[in-house]
């Protein structure tokens, strides 16, 4: 397989001016990442600062309601409230050991921005966070958290003013400020080596979840593993160690937007075509002429017209099934999990929970392990307006 590719997907489609920092990063992955110093410090940070391992939680009430056996992998219990911190501490530590002083990041829902800011504070680095102007309004609590922890927030006013445009602007900043700055890419997407690097830091989710589920179920594997897919980092982390388990059905859930005919959605795997954006060949929401379409989801973290290349490959090979959940179904799941189990999920994660609810007839009697990628505190402003 060609370097940096997952089957036909992946690659390094970026301006030449970004090749030197990508090559530098790739070299750091080969030298610093395997070093005892990095591995020891990273393991210590995951345990002491993130709170790993995160637990798995059985949901007795919803399981009874739905007629299935529902389990959650609790990434929402991580410090800063989502899976994003696994990746940010990993990349932050790597960047620090590379001699970088600034962590640059894009963010949609704000969780990656918060996690990057946490990593920067812990590692005595500066955080510069690019965020679409629309998302700054939608996710005000996270913006406040980032500011409190010392991040410089750059409001992106171009295009759709969401995650896609934040990535464009962050890439532009990285071209200009590459010497002392590491671009802490937030998802398992973008140019090589980011998809591999981010998956490497997120695979801890399935490594723990697989063992924990088997410990709690007499050595049995779950029947179904589910995660929401925006760029795809919590999903690739949740799927990675289950991929060789042929008995496990793996499902990725994309956002179908409002679900109305003609509405924008955020489901490139289900509704997109092959194309090139943000450094990778992947599935994209685009016109026939290759212009990128605006995306929409009630969950800002899923609001992206592309997806990590490994997901496009896992779909092409048939190993993972990808499907969609719309805004209304996600909100129902949000309410159900909050009221029946006392767990307020992120709107992103609610899409994955909704899969179990919407497919309860087919899943009767099965064990379903869902990645609860983040907590919903950040979404209370959105929910006040629509619930």
């Amino acid at each position: 397989m060609k370097k940096g590719y997952f089957g036909d997907f992946g690659g390094q489609f970026i301006p030449e001016l970004l090749m030197p920092p990508l090559i530098e990063l790739e070299q750091a992955m080969e030298t610093i990442l395997p070093s005892e110093e990095f591995q020891t410090r990273f393991a210590h940070m995951l345990e002491e600062n993130v709170g790993r391992p995160s637990t798995i939680t059985h949901c007795p009430n919803l399981s009874k309601d739905l007629g299935l056996d529902l389990w959650l992998k609790r990434e929402d219990l991580n410090h800063s409230g989502a899976h994003k911190i696994n990746n940010c501490l990993g990349q932050g530590l790597l960047a620090k050991m590379m001699g970088k002083e600034v962590l640059l990041a894009e963010t949609g829902a704000g969780m990656h921005g918060v996690a990057t800011t946490v990593a920067a504070a812990m590692l005595d680095m500066k955080a510069v966070i690019y965020m679409g102007a629309t998302d700054i309004v939608r996710q005000a609590p996270n913006v406040n958290r980032m500011r409190l922890m010392g991040a410089e927030i750059v409001s992106v006013e171009s295009g759709t003013k969401t995650l896609k445009d934040a990535i464009n602007e962050a890439l532009r900043r990285w071209i200009a400020d590459q010497e002392n700055t590491h671009y802490c890419f937030g998802t398992a997407a973008g140019p090589h080596p980011f998809p591999t690097l981010v998956r490497g830091f997120q695979q801890v989710i399935s490594k723990e979840a697989r063992r924990q589920f088997m410990d709690r179920n007499d050595g049995s594997l779950p029947d179904v593993v589910v995660a929401c897919v925006g760029g795809g980092s919590n999903a690739i982390g949740m799927f990675h160690h289950f991929i060789p388990d042929e008995s496990v059905r793996i499902v990725g859930v994309e956002a179908a937007g409002t679900g109305e005919p003609g509405c924008c959605d955020s489901a490139p795997l289900d509704h997109g075509t092959n194309g090139v954006l943000h450094g990778m060949v992947t599935k994209l929401l685009q016109t026939d002429e290759g212009q990128i379409l605006p995306s929409h989801s009630v969950a800002p973290g899923l609001d992206y017209p592309g997806v990590g290349p490994e997901h496009a490959h896992l779909q092409a090979t048939g190993r993972v099934k990808y499907t969609t959940i719309n805004d209304g179904q996600a909100l129902n799941a949000f309410k159900a999990l909050s009221r029946r189990e006392g767990i307020i999920p992120a709107l992103e994660s609610s899409h994955a929970v909704a899969y179990a609810i919407e497919n309860k007839a087919e899943l009767q009697g099965r064990s379903v392990l869902v990645c609860l990628s983040g907590r919903g505190d950040k979404d209370l402003g959105i929910l006040d307006q629509i619930l």
């Binding site: 690659g11 390094q12 489609f13 970026i14 301006p15 030449e16 001016l17 090749m19 030197p20 171009s158 295009g159 896609k164 464009n168 890439l171 532009r172 071209i175 200009a176 590459q178 194309g275 090139v276 954006l277 943000h278 450094g279 994209l284 685009q286 026939d288 002429e289 290759g290 212009q291 990128i292």
Partner: protein, 253 residues
């Protein structure tokens, strides 16, 4: 020899710097664009760089991005560009180059793209988001049609990477003057001279300096180190302010 190189060599023989203006296709309007092209051609452009608008132009600064998005909103696409160029084939003295991002070209179909370039008299292509490692399949599709892939290098490109680009490069080498996006700069980095000298040693085709260029006075310090200059944002701003391409070109003649 590629027509782009011929034009730059012609300027050099006259003791001049080759002029490479950039305009997004369809700017400032569908009709006016072709008139601007004719003016640029008549005013001595050696190569005219035509931008293929893209929704997410990460290598471009705000001036080019805004102009490109306006063109997209006006319905400009590759078919419109090729139709217009085919209609005017043979009328331009300058060599023609298309510049853009990979996805629209990829969706158009690389073989069809190459054939249409040939039919429209286009002899060069720049893909801003395609480094050497990924360029093979594009080169293979367009070179049989006489279209050369113009390499982009910059201040952070090592000699080794320049050599990779130089091995089969045709037309000219586009040297990016700043670590940044397109757009006018008041001053250019001091490191340019040293890197231009390196590029001169590695490439056996002309070197064009681009990004941040707004006036010929900026180039005096690089005499002997570069053969052509690319200017886009300054030209776009000049036209947006109600001026003509001809008056922009005046100080460069």
């Amino acid at each position: 020899m590629n027509p782009m190189q011929i034009k730059i060599e012609e300027a050099r023989k006259q003791g001049k710097v080759g002029l490479i203006p950039f305009l997004p296709a369809g700017f400032p309007s569908r009709e006016q664009f072709w008139k601007e092209l004719e003016e640029l051609d008549a005013a001595g452009a050696g190569v005219i760089e035509i931008g293929m608008p893209f929704s997410d132009p990460v290598a471009d600064g705000p001036v080019v991005e805004k102009a490109s998005l306006k063109c997209l909103a006006d319905g400009i696409n590759l078919a419109w560009i090729f139709d217009g160029l085919k209609e005017r084939k043979g009328r331009f003295n300058a060599a023609l180059l298309l510049m853009g991002y990979l996805n629209p070209v990829y969706q158009y179909g690389l073989d069809k793209f190459g054939a249409d370039c040939e039919a429209a008299g286009v002899s060069g292509l720049i893909i801003a988001d395609m480094p050497f490692e990924e360029s093979g399949f594009v080169k293979d599709a367009i070179e049989p049609h006489g279209v050369s892939l113009v390499p982009l290098v910059g201040l952070n490109t090592t000699r080794e990477r320049m050599a990779l680009y130089a091995e089969n490069a045709q037309g000219f080498c586009y040297f990016v003057s700043v670590l940044g996006t397109t757009g006018q700069r008041e001053s250019l980095p001091a490191k340019i001279k040293e890197k231009l000298a390196e590029a001169k040693e590695v490439f056996d085709i002309p070197i064009a300096l681009g990004f941040g260029i707004k006036h010929p006075d900026q180039l005096k310090q690089f005499e002997g180190l570069m053969d052509a200059a690319v200017f886009g944002s300054a030209l776009i701003t000049h036209i947006e302010n109600g001026n003509t391409s001809d008056s922009f070109m005046e100080p460069w003649k």
